[in-house]
């Protein structure tokens, strides 16, 4: 089953998704990257119906690039989240996209941010957020562990514990996961 978690720490944001592509009861692959980089300092972690998920995230990515080229300046993480929310809201009464998103980013002068967006166009600025059956209990774990001065090492340990808990308690846990971090230096992928 799909699993997406995001954590905002001090000066960075971290997102984790399951790395499986599933077709009915079959796992097609174990290295599906569901975290799309948007420019140099933002990430789009996605879950939902695979077709909608890819289509929508590429649409957002194209528009973010176009904005940067047209205006000679990048969209902030907040702006990307609000743009995506608007598109989801418009789509909702026409052809809804079955896509849940986490937008994570780092902006100069503002620091890290993490936005939660679901397919009904809900948007929240969060410290921790997630989707999928796994998030039901991992969120309560993170409630206990999160604090405002969270370091990268602590957040990575939280991600590791979250994955461990999912694998331990969920019947339909994914065997592989992707974790990406965005901070002042940019985006990088980490393994646990």
């Amino acid at each position: 089953m799909e699993y997406v978690m995001g954590i905002k720490g001090k000066g960075f944001a971290m997102v984790c998704t399951s790395a499986t592509a599933v077709q009915q009861i079959i796992t097609m692959k174990h290295d599906e990257d569901k975290i799309l980089p948007l420019g140099t300092h933002s990430l789009l972690a996605t879950s939902g119906e695979p077709g909608d998920r890819v289509q929508f995230s590429e649409f957002v990515a194209a528009n973010v690039r176009l904005y940067a080229l047209r205006n000679g300046s990048k969209l902030s993480t907040k702006a990307i989240a609000n743009f995506s929310r608007g598109e989801l809201a418009t789509a909702l009464r026409k052809g809804p996209k079955s896509t849940n998103l986490l937008v994570a980013g780092y902006d100069k002068g503002k620091g890290a941010s993490l936005y939660f967006l679901d397919y009904l166009a809900t948007m929240h600025d969060m410290n921790i957020a997630g989707y999928g059956y796994g998030s039901w209990f991992v969120l309560s774990m993170y409630d206990r562990m999160w604090h405002p001065d969270l370091t990268e090492a602590e957040a990575l340990e939280m991600m590791r514990l979250g994955i461990e808990e999912v694998k331990n308690r969920l019947v339909v846990a994914s065997p592989t996961y992707t974790i990406k971090i965005v901070d002042e230096a940019g985006i990088r992928t980490v393994t646990v």
């Binding site: 690039r65 176009l66 047209r70």
Partner: protein, 233 residues
């Protein structure tokens, strides 16, 4: 007499001219000069910068713009006309990428711009773009340089010039062009441009595009250094 064939752009004159298109070409000829050179490992453009008003921010008046991650455009002619062309080229670049999941070729973007310009010579209620463009970029290891004009033709060049005195500069390039590499390409571009333009970094901008990066302006000290070498040689 000729005024009769001047009302609508889609009307030929009896001797086969489209006056409005020719006037658009004239607008380009009166625009500031731009030289484009394709080197072995880079594309270099040298452009004449018009004197800006005393209190105007010169950085906001630029003839080189980025179309996509690895494609840029330089133009001669009417800046306002160029702006809409640039915008449509940028949209096409991203739209292509969204559809094909790969960057469009330089030729594709040049053809797209030329198509738009051509439509504006054959449709009602429009006026041709008073703009000639250089579209520069890379395809793999190969630098490419295309030119478009108001009539909607586009072609690839090793080196060319557009704008004021472009004919003289083109003739210079035809005599002096050679396959250049690295800094030599920048030197050749400046040699060609300073045939007709006052040699000073105050009124010349040089931009270099290398593989895998966007075009970057040379710092004015470097432009001055090359100009000094040329003056001494």
């Amino acid at each position: 007499m000729s005024a009769k064939y001047d009302r609508a752009i889609t009307v030929f004159s009896p001797d086969g001219h489209l006056f409005q298109v020719e006037y658009a070409m004239e607008a380009v000829k009166r625009g500031t000069t731009a030289v484009g050179i394709r080197g072995k490992d880079s594309v270099v453009v040298a452009v004449e910068r018009k004197a800006t008003a005393k209190l105007q921010d010169a950085n906001t008046v630029r003839k080189l713009v980025q179309l996509d991650e690895n494609t840029s455009l330089v133009f001669a002619g009417l800046l306002a006309d160029a702006r809409t062309l640039i915008d449509r080229a940028r949209v096409e670049a991203q739209s292509y990428k969204l559809t094909m999941d790969e960057a469009p070729s330089v030729e594709h973007i040049a053809r797209h711009i030329a198509n738009i310009q051509q439509k504006h010579t054959q449709s009602g209620g429009v006026r041709p773009f008073g703009v000639s463009t250089f579209v520069l970029g890379f395809e793999g290891d190969n630098p490419r340089l295309f030119q478009t004009d108001p009539s909607g033709t586009f072609s690839e060049w090793k080196a060319n010039a557009v704008g004021r005195n472009s004919k003289t500069i083109r003739e210079y390039l035809e005599k002096n062009f050679e396959e250049t590499e690295g800094r030599e390409t920048q030197v050749l571009a400046l040699k060609a441009l300073t045939e007709m333009v006052e040699p000073s970094s105050k009124n010349i901008d040089v931009a270099v595009m290398r593989k895998g990066t966007q075009a970057v302006y040379l710092p004015s000290e470097e432009v001055d250094a090359i100009l000094k070498e040329l003056a001494e040689a």
